[in-house]
């Protein structure tokens, strides 16, 4: 039996990688993938606790997160395509029309 702390450390590492990717990358798609990574890091900790504590609520929560992530992916990708069409770039620093 793998101890829960292993899962949690892995989850934390994945989450930090997601955060780092989000903060450091400029490409919108990469940022988007970083967000997915963070979500899945959270999912991992959910299922880890769920197994440890013998409760189903953690698993159910993971399904919710997945559903939301799927919806988000659909909407987010559509936005990204639209941004690319109008601005011919995926560099997030160039998409700053609202800035004064």
């Amino acid at each position: 039996m793998v101890p829960i702390s292993y899962y949690l450390v892995l989850s934390a590492i994945l989450f930090c990688l997601g955060v780092a990717g989000f903060l450091l990358k400029r490409n919108i798609i990469t940022i988007f993938m970083s967000i997915e990574l963070m979500l899945n890091a959270v999912n991992l900790s959910f299922v880890a606790f769920s197994a440890e504590l013998h409760r189903l609520s953690g698993n159910i929560f993971v399904f919710f997160v997945m559903v939301v992530a799927a919806a988000e992916a659909a909407v987010g990708l559509a936005i990204i395509i639209e941004v690319f069409r109008t601005r011919d770039t995926l560099n997030i620093d160039k998409v700053n029309l609202l800035k004064m």
């Binding site: 400029r26 997030i92 998409v95 700053n96």
Partner: protein, 700 residues
């Protein structure tokens, strides 16, 4: 309360006329404006006459009609109530009668003016407020009318508002009146504190039971504050300065508001408050002195003025002084009598002067008139009647009222408790001298205008350059150039008819008050007696048994029987004085025209002082207006308003902007920096929770 006279209709009728003309008059043809403007005051006059015919059969006088409650606060109540007694009956007839005649006159006079409908809307509005003022049964409703006539006066003085001098004159009148109104308001508060109500009847019966105030107590202060209000409205020293400037308004306005009706509101108010004044002999004395001083002072200025309307304006101030003198010596009935006759002859004088100005296409300077008697005979005739009437030559109206005032001044004991009879003699002497000057300046005006040869001005009178050449701001009114530049012409009948009617009134108006000494029966005073006899015996009550009242409160005007000889002698003196004034004017302005100039030259300094109205306007400017302006500009505007009030607001706004300027840098528009803030926030929360877990905050 007996039969219903529908008193409220009298003021409301002109208000309806004002509303119709004011709201829709712009689209009406002139004839409709005329019809509306005349119909409603006319209807008010008809009702006033009807009420006068019913007056004798009224069961209770004062007759009071209450429409409804206006203000209710605790035990204090003010109603929309109207009161009809002898005093308001006389005022009602004067205001509606003279007012209606002047409306007719205005139709002719204003025919060629712009803003025709506006003029009549204001005029009707004035009638509404004036009638409210005289019919009210409490001080507060009177004050509504009081302020309202001030408003109408302001609007009408500034009728030619494109002209600076007219707009300024309107402002001056309004502001000077505010000073008086302040006194009136404080007086009302004192009355409320003293009696708990403002209803005439309750106030007077309450104060009537109080002892006479022989010191400078509340009653005296109240009376003096009332007098301050009256001095503002009725142009007495020290607040008379607005009235001569008010001549910037159209001439019918000068006749109606600034001669016949509104300016007499102060006299009416003092007469109405006679109970308060009778209980404050000091105040009575002040009223008499102020009135007498004003009469004298204004008359001397009147002698030197050359603008026909200004002479009449100072004459009005002077005659109002007479009325206050009458009130001050407790002869309220004589004051109201003079108010009535003055309304007739002064309205007539102004209207006739307007007719002269009309005939000369806007010329107002008497030095450029002369020889008009053949050219405008009707105006000349009516003006002659008015001049004789105001000069006090029998048997015209002015003689009886003025003589009555002088006799009462001589014989009154109203303030004998606080001043010796020397004061009466002095006041009487000044009154006689004033009467002499009145006669002189009026005949001077008469001779200069109608006799001699025509003295045309060098340039045509409607030339603006000429108007500007007159130094003292009374140059003629450009908007009164009646467009027709052809020669001198008599006025239309709509203007002459009121002149003739007023001339008849100015002739016979005094006959209702022929004193007993002259074989009359003085109907007027016996008619007015009920209003003024609460405490003091009615003035001139020669044949009443209570004439010997020794009590100082009742000393009022009681006069012994045996003085008929003295009265006759004094009458003789005043007639001689009036004739003397005529003679001197005849000598100076008809026989030997060069004399006035020589005398003026020999007394240069004095003449200049009087010609410039004793520099009172300049003195007021220097000691009141300028410091006030300085204080307003430097302290109130620049310091309080700009630096403190605006400063606070502006600083708050500026600081907010400064802080925003700093914090807006957080909103860089860089998505990754936002994310960094989120991450940092999350890390901070996490760190806090770990710290809290370690410290055991949650498990406490």
């Amino acid at each position: 309360m007996n039969e219903n006279l529908h008193l409220w209709l009298i003021p409301v009728l002109p208000l309806v006329g004002a509303a119709i003309n004011g709201l829709f008059g712009r689209r009406f043809p002139q004839r409709v404006v005329n019809a509306v403007a005349l119909a409603f005051p006319g209807a008010a006059l008809v009702q006033a006459l009807w009420i006068a015919s019913q007056f004798g059969s009224l069961q209770t006088i004062p007759h009071i009609e209450v429409l409804g409650r206006w203000i209710q606060a605790g035990s204090f109540t003010v109603n929309f109530g109207y009161q009809l007694d002898q005093l308001s009956m006389i005022m009602l007839l004067v205001v509606t009668g003279v007012g209606f005649l002047i409306h007719i006159y205005s139709v002719g006079y204003m025919a060629h003016e712009g803003g025709y409908y506006r003029f009549f809307a204001y005029l009707n509005l004035f009638m509404f407020f004036m009638l409210t003022l005289i019919l009210a049964n409490n001080y507060l409703l009177m004050f509504v009318g009081w302020e309202g006539v001030g408003l109408a006066s302001y609007l009408l003085i500034g009728f030619y508002f494109l002209k600076d001098s007219a707009a300024n004159a309107g402002k001056k009148a309004f502001i000077v009146n505010r000073i008086g109104d302040f006194g009136f308001l404080i007086a009302m508060f004192l009355i409320m504190r003293e009696t708990g109500t403002l209803n005439y009847l309750t106030v007077f019966s309450h104060i009537g039971r109080l002892p006479v105030d022989m010191h400078w107590g509340t009653l005296t202060i109240t009376a003096l504050l009332l007098m301050l209000g009256a001095a503002g409205k009725s142009a007495q020293i020290p607040l008379y300065v607005w009235l001569p400037d008010a001549m910037e308004g159209p001439t019918p306005v000068s006749a109606l508001i600034h001669a016949a009706t509104m300016v007499t509101a102060g006299v009416y108010m003092v007469a109405r408050s006679n109970v308060i004044f009778n209980h404050a002999p000091h105040a009575l004395m002040v009223v008499a002195i102020v009135g007498c001083a004003t009469a004298m002072f204004a008359a001397t200025i009147g002698i030197t003025q050359t603008d026909i309307k200004r002479v009449l304006a100072y004459s009005t101030v002077s005659q109002l002084g007479y009325m206050f003198l009458a009130c001050g010596v407790g002869a309220y009935a004589a004051g109201i009598f003079h108010l009535m006759t003055h309304a007739f002859f002064k309205a007539l004088l102004f209207l006739a002067a307007g007719s002269v100005i009309h005939a000369l296409s806007g010329e107002q300077d008497m030095r450029h008139m002369g020889g008009l008697r053949k050219l405008i005979p009707w105006t000349f005739g009516t003006m002659t009647v008015a001049t004789i009437a105001i000069a006090g030559i029998p048997p015209l109206a002015g003689f009886f009222s003025k003589d009555e005032i002088l006799w009462q001044t001589f014989s009154s004991k109203a303030f004998s408790s606080v001043a010796g009879s020397e004061l009466n003699i002095v006041l009487w002497l000044l009154g006689i001298i004033t009467a002499f000057m009145t006669s002189f300046y009026m005949f001077r005006l008469w001779f200069m205008t109608f006799f001699g040869e025509r003295r045309e001005s060098a340039s045509p009178s409607h030339d603006p350059a000429h108007a500007a050449s007159h130094g003292h701001g009374d140059d003629h009114d450009p908007s009164q150039d009646h467009a027709h530049a052809h020669g001198v012409h008599e006025s239309p009948w709509s203007m002459l008819a009121p002149l003739v009617i007023l001339a008849v009134l100015a002739t016979i108006g005094g006959w209702v008050g022929i004193p007993h000494a002259l074989g009359g029966s003085n109907h007027f005073e016996s008619f007015m007696r009920p209003v003024f006899e609460h405490e003091a015996a009615a003035p001139g009550a020669h044949n009443t048994p209570n004439a010997e009242a020794p009590n100082p409160a009742q000393a009022g005007t009681a006069e012994p029987h045996g003085d008929t000889g003295t009265e006759l002698a004094l009458t003789g003196v005043s007639v001689l004085t009036a004739l003397g004034g005529f003679g001197l004017a005849y000598l100076f302005y008809y026989k030997r025209r060069e004399l006035p100039d020589r005398i003026a030259a020999s007394m240069h300094g004095l003449y200049q002082t009087v010609l410039n109205k004793y520099y009172v306007d300049e003195i007021y400017n220097a000691i009141i207006v300028r410091p006030l302006m300085w204080f307003s500009t430097k302290v109130l505007w620049r310091t309080v308003d700009v630096s403190m009030i605006d400063g606070t607001v502006n600083h708050v706004a500026a600081d907010t902007r400064g802080i925003s300027n700093q914090t807006r840098r957080m909103q860089s528009g860089n998505v990754r920096s936002y994310a960094a803030w989120v991450a940092a926030g999350a890390a901070a929360v996490l760190a806090f929770m770990i710290w809290a877990g370690v410290k055991g905050v949650w498990t406490r």
